[in-house]
Symmetry: C2
Subunit: 335 residues, 2 copies
């Protein structure tokens, strides 16, 4: 079952390998007749180009590394779909790694990807600053880096794709207020994630604007699993801090919060409204369905892929930050 190479075709047709190559590449300097013969033979013998050889020639690995914090929520799956949409048709391979929300794993993943000689890396961080040195080092070695969703704090020379956390968070909080909620609690996620800080800022601004901000109503979590969401609500509950609604950093945290409420027979949205930021399928799978800021995840992946391609094609291309529009989707968990 040996593979057919250009050499086999060359023998088969008594032509030089270069002519075969040219015909296959649609080079103009080939007789139409000859091209046809080559094409037919290639089809007949089942010739398929050897990507590895191509890559060796071109000096590229045609491999893009991707680092995501986790894959058990649909968030990354959707973004990956976007990345794949753009990159697979172009013959790029993806090496996808999961950091499990752990900066140390992220570091290992990045190093693994370096070992793979990737042409570029697309990454969603799990910690704002922890691996800054590595990002910097990778970029200065000439491997383009593109950040999406959770981006680093330093102004690295890298392109980014994000949604406006501050604005969208503000809008969601304002919506809750408009529906009559006043004691809006906020589960902000870990403060080592830039977006968490941004969203919390949006929350604070609006709460202050309406003079209803209360420091007790905001809580940082150490992690991102739904257990932390649960624990946050338990905290307020234990301390007898009143709240009539919850705005969570992510679907997962919101769902954890909902579970606590449901377990304690607290009506959603009757007694407490719940809203989140993310907008993955999870928000429609729970009961009641979750109001959330829905991000264009597939688009986000596609954009990230295009940004990395720009950088690969021209390493001196200027870095861009693309801001994508999100929409608020109102569902049964609020009102």
């Amino acid at each position: 079952m040996k593979r057919i190479t250009i050499k086999d075709l060359s023998k088969f047709l008594s032509l030089s390998t270069s002519t075969i190559s040219r015909a296959l590449l649609n080079d103009k300097n080939v007789n139409d007749e000859t091209r046809k013969r080559v094409m037919d033979a290639a089809a007949e013998l089942g010739y398929k180009p050897n990507l590895t050889a191509l890559n060796l020639k071109s000096g590229q690995s045609k491999t893009i590394g991707v680092v995501v914090p986790e894959m058990i929520t649909p968030f990354s799956a959707k973004v990956l779909e976007g990345i794949q949409n753009v990159l697979y048709p172009l013959g790029y391979r993806l090496v996808i790694t999961q950091s499990d929300e752990n900066p140390l794993n992220e570091r290992k993943n990045l190093q693994l990807l370096e070992g793979f000689n990737v042409d570029g890396i697309i990454i969603n961080l799990c910690h704002e600053t922890y691996n800054n040195d590595l990002y910097q080092q990778i970029i200065s070695q000439g491997t383009p880096l593109v950040f999406f969703d959770r981006i680093p704090d330093k102004s690295l020379n890298a392109s980014k794709v994000i949604v406006d956390d501050y604005i969208n968070s503000s809008l969601m909080v304002e919506y809750l207020i408009k529906t009559g909620r006043k004691r809006i609690a906020h589960i902000m996620g870990p403060q080592t994630i830039r977006n968490a800080v941004e969203r919390a800022n949006g929350y604070k601004r609006i709460m202050n604007k309406y003079h209803i901000f209360d420091e007790n109503l905001i809580i940082k979590t150490e992690g991102m699993t739904f257990e932390y969401g649960k624990r946050a609500v338990k905290h307020w509950s234990d301390k007898d801090i009143e709240f009539d609604s919850i705005f969570a950093f992510s679907d997962t945290l919101a769902i954890g919060a909902m579970n606590f409420l449901l377990e304690n027979n607290i009506k959603i949205p009757g007694e407490v409204a719940v809203a989140s930021f993310s907008g993955t399928e999870l928000s429609t799978m729970v009961y009641p369905q979750l109001t959330s800021v829905q991000q264009p995840l597939v688009k986000m992946g596609e954009t990230a892929a295009e940004l990395i391609l720009e950088k690969i094609r021209d390493h001196s291309a200027p870095s861009k930050t693309v801001l994508l529009d999100a929409v608020l989707v109102y569902r049964d968990s609020t009102l």
Copy 2:
């Protein structure tokens, strides 16, 4: 920022490239002194082997293709984790594709992977028979194929990793009966999925054993989304078919079913118990938490990866079918 090659080292140390190569490969025919010099220089200049060149020499692409039906539930994410655990440390890259539960997409994915010259393909089907011709063709072209979870009906020369659907389904149904349920409804999923048929058979056997089988209590769905789960329960409800419990083919279908019950104020498990087959994180994220047959997903991925490695190393290695143990996990959705 040019990469350091073996040639650079050769110039730098005034040694032949072959000696450098040998030193790097720990070949015995190298003076210890020389080896040390080479190693030091490699470290100093930051030499990293070019995988593409290695691959060209070895004739392998060091790339494994993976095809999964979907990635929005944690199911595939967990299996992928297992696959990555085994394959990444060995220098393999993964090209992961999603079929979106559509056999046509599956076909396209397989063809894409062929174009990538993958060394092997690990696949979870979305239809039992639809692409049988392609599986056969890929195998006979010499590309090993390993199936996991949902496997094909024909006896192809390929290894497989599965859990025993029939037995575990039986066990779960028997458990429901032991907790006092008699009218156990079954959402079996599409009958074009072999596992759905197997699990339904397990269900039927036990229901018959206790003489409580009723054809009306079993329903096939066209798809796998949670909407179909919802619709199934609506069907029984509309037709006034009584049931005191539901056993669903997957977490997602079960959750759809739960949502219908919750929307109609039917108590879980008070009035209706719910159980599923899958055992992803989803089962712990919903309220009440879902009783389910929990499969060892990471292990499944690791096993699939090892099976494909066997085949890659020795193309004539015999095909194996590995049966993994699942466990029933009892949660609040049943009593």
